[in-house]
Symmetry: C2
Subunit: 116 residues, 2 copies
């Protein structure tokens, strides 16, 4: 018997339905941590700066227009979550997105903001 056919109950809502598909706490925490990395304007701008390839810290700093220290802190944050990777070349350190996954996620969010 489909749900829609059930006679509308009066009185207290005796819901026996247990919601299915709620993710467990640990997964929820990890997922929220991933999104948290994208939940700050400075980090978003850093990531957007890396969409087209790698860039070194002072290029990123100039592009984002924030103090080098702030940028470094955020780069570390993103690095710890493996959203970006880096390589050293002499005095410079070049950063880039860790994989296409991240770019996708970013672009999908951007899409939603711009349209829809």
């Amino acid at each position: 018997m489909p749900r829609k056919m059930l006679k509308k109950r009066a009185g207290p809502h005796n819901s026996t339905r247990t919601l299915k598909g709620v993710i467990d706490e640990e997964t929820a925490l990890k997922l929220s941590e991933l999104f948290k990395a994208l939940a700050d304007p400075t980090r978003v701008r850093i990531l957007s700066a890396l969409r087209n390839g790698e860039a070194c810290v002072h290029e990123i700093t100039a592009a984002v227009g924030m103090s080098q220290s702030a940028i470094s802190h955020q780069l570390r944050y993103l690095r710890n979550l493996r959203l970006i990777k880096h390589r050293r070349q002499g005095r410079h350190v070049y950063y880039q997105l860790d994989d296409a996954h991240i770019r996708d996620l970013f672009n999908r969010g951007l899409d939603h903001v711009k349209h829809g």
Copy 2:
């Protein structure tokens, strides 16, 4: 002349390259606000509870295992950002994801957390 052919410069890095494609501050803010909505374990679990369709507040509350007040606050948060929509039926208020976009974004993040 391709970049790779340029002789490696010594001395201070006189970078004339201006990073292309950095999104503007306003877009960055909006984008970060979108991701911020997904950047909390409780909100993540609420959204996951709504992946399979609508649910009313006390169903969500039971599923997520948090106080009704906390859930209501977070529902309002998600509502204000238009990530969910609601309809009232008698004493109950049913919530559901606002559109497929949101589900996609959520699932994509979840994918990244579970695998690669």
